[in-house]
């Protein structure tokens, strides 16, 4: 019995150790290429804190990394990346930001709106360090000179893919799958609907949110995404646009199962480039959210001595949002889409932010 107790104790310790690894706070970033390892330039020292998922998520964390890489290449910057674990609270995030600030990194860029409260707190403690929050609302909590919220006009990008969907639909029926029903994703929905209606107000638009409040059910639920999208295709839609993070992978599974003549529209990054070979022929276009541009331009502005503060919006005009043309499926309608794009940039078309 005593021996068994020892074994149990040992396995418990091992399990705890493994759990610790899973949530490794300062986590070493894995992967073959690592831009920060060898970076020792004289430019800005950039600290980058990732959201859950980290580098390699083929989504916004990776997009932030692209911006960081560009900063290292073009601005001769040096950098450090830190990753987030699952189930963290604000105190954990604050500690991670202090770690970067204490190590002399300036500016510090946090990826993801979840960092907003932590940045609002930590920025007050380090008035000489500049903080940028991608998708953030830290300014709304507390206005500070050294804090910038790098936000995007997702509604404008969504408007353009809405136009593409309206021009391409033969069934005169399109769908929108959202992750969590809140102001952020409603911006996507509002823009998409406005884009479809601008072309043809008679087109039917089906809308479905996967969850009202639970990010896990909304953004990490490919099974739910597939059920929702299959329902839309069954009910007559031939194009579905998703703004549901990884649940969107289920939307792509659904379009593949629906077969020839059915389309899906990707979000955030050019998803044509990352989906399976068999699904490529169904990805009409993607709404691009250029987090890489935001990260790079923030670093560049800091390097030039004028780091922005408050809400900074990256819109169509600044190239912060756009649509992708990979696969060549929208080549025949780019003229028309670009016409709307010019009108939005010129301010002739106003895109709503709430449906």
């Amino acid at each position: 019995m005593r021996r068994l107790t020892k074994i149990a104790a040992a396995s418990a310790v091992l399990a705890l150790a493994l759990t610790g690894c899973g949530n490794d706070e300062t986590g070493s970033t894995t992967g073959s290429e690592d831009i920060c390892e060898g970076s020792s330039g004289n430019g800005p020292k950039i600290g980058l804190a990732y959201d859950v998922g980290g580098r390699g998520d083929q989504s916004f964390n990776d997009s932030a990394y692209v911006g960081l890489k560009k900063a290292v290449d073009d601005l001769d910057a040096s950098c450090k990346e830190v990753e987030a674990g699952t189930g963290e609270n604000d105190a954990d995030r604050e500690e991670r930001l202090r770690l970067l600030a204490d190590a002399g990194f300036n500016p510090v860029v946090a990826v993801g709106f979840v960092y907003s409260p932590a940045v609002a707190t930590v920025a007050a403690e380090y008035p000489d360090v500049n903080f940028g929050v991608v998708d953030g609302y830290a300014t709304a909590i507390k206005e500070q000179k050294n804090v910038a919220d790098l936000t995007f006009a997702e509604n404008e990008g969504s408007f353009l893919v809405g136009v593409a969907a309206a021009l391409k639909t033969e069934a005169k029926n399109v769908g929108f799958v959202g992750g969590v029903n809140g102001p952020l994703i409603q911006k996507f929905e509002a823009g998409f609907k406005a884009g479809v209606e601008a072309v043809d107000p008679k087109i039917e638009i089906q809308t479905q949110y996967l969850s009202q409040d639970d990010p896990q059910q909304g953004f990490e639920n490919p099974a739910g995404g597939e059920t929702a999208a299959t329902g839309m295709y069954d009910n007559g839609a031939d194009i579905v646009y998703h703004a549901a993070g990884k649940s969107g992978l289920g939307v792509f599974d659904a379009v593949e199962a629906a077969g020839e003549g059915y389309w899906a529209i990707g979000v955030d990054s050019d998803q044509y480039l990352t989906v399976d070979e068999a699904q490529k022929k169904h990805i009409l276009t993607s709404m691009l959210k250029r987090i890489d541009t935001a990260v790079f331009e923030y670093a560049e502005a800091f390097d030039g001595g004028s780091a922005p503060s408050g809400f900074v919006t990256y819109d169509l005009k600044s190239g912060g949002v756009d649509y992708s043309t990979s696969g060549g499926f929208v080549d025949d309608i780019t003229d028309q889409i670009d016409k709307y794009k010019d009108q939005i940039i010129a301010g002739e078309v106003k895109v709503p932010t709430a449906p």
Binding site: A8, L18, G53, Q206, G231, N235, L249
Partner: protein, 417 residues
Amino acid sequence: MTVSAPESSAALVKPTAARSYRIWIYLAVLVIALSTTRIFTGADDITSSGTLRAAVIAAIPIALAGLGGLWSERAGVVNIGLEGMMILGTLGAGYFTYHYGVWVGLLGAAVFGAVGGALHALATVTFGVDHIVSGVAINIIALGVASFLAEALFTGLPGGGPTQSPSLDRPPTISVPGLSGWTESLEDKGWFLVSDLAALLNVVVSQLSLFTLVALVLIFGTGWLLWRTPFGLRLRSCGESPSAAETLGVNVYRYKFVAVTMSGALAGMGGAFLALVASSGYQNGQTGGRGYIGLAAMIFGNWRPTGLLTGSLIFGYTDAARLRSGGESVHALLLVLSVALLAIAVWQLIRGARLAAVLAAVVGGLGLTWYLRTDTIPGDFTQMTPYVMTLLVLALASQQLRMPAADGQRYRRGEAG
């Protein structure tokens, strides 16, 4: 929930013929009710083959987790660690399917889940740790182990990353050539009852995943194994009265250990279904509490295989309905529910249960008013539908529930007085 004292013999004999006969009547009433509602409201999606197929896919992982719970609790060990074992299963399925194909993937998921189950057995059976404490610990450990291993196993693979596996092949599906087309065209006609039954048949004869068949074999196989064989009788006796079993020469520790390990394997297979059939790959956080729902389905199902399957199907159906044509379908289901409650009110009144009758009438009346005054249900409420529906059915059926008598109790060898 009311748990009555063990009815010594009734629980151990097979279900009577009258009981299984009653299930078919319930089912027929349900189909007729849904079909009538479909014609009346025009909410065609509530009995479409698409919804029913999505319902089955949503139900099977929950049912397998519940089946795992059944094995464990029938042997007297409460297993709240099903969620964690399911997480291990999704990871095992992701890794082994990528390298060796779907069938090895299913096996790998079962093995990963069984490891979690064996850990639970070690803690609860060998060391006599409180079942809830051990289960919760396993849920936490599994989450950490899975995210650690996912980063180690999937980083750098094409299409994979630290939090997700590459996209994986799905298990093969079968379609019966003539029948699948025939049922589809019959469904499109929109006839009363005929089209609904055609849709139901279509789910069986078209695009049926082989994993679904495996799951059904496991569920009904468990019913046979636990209720028709000496092995099953001994296993259940460990959950009813371990001391009595011990005096009759049953090695209670061994039976409990086998049952809890098997429990983990089944929950792991539920995870495999989730990762391979419901989605096309492993992802962190994919289970989203389905293990707990499986546990609830098992309790609602009165610790019986057919019961837990029914519970899972109710949950899966309402979940699929709300995810597909959200507002419209749930709005139609509200009508079904309200009418059903009013019918229950009348029935309770005849039986003389005034309080229950008034309660059912009030809730049913409110539901009916809500239905008549609106055209759709807002998203905040559609999201709750699966839970509300399951809770309501649970509340109505709970009077007859009986858990294994020694479920959750700590058992030590040789303490029989």
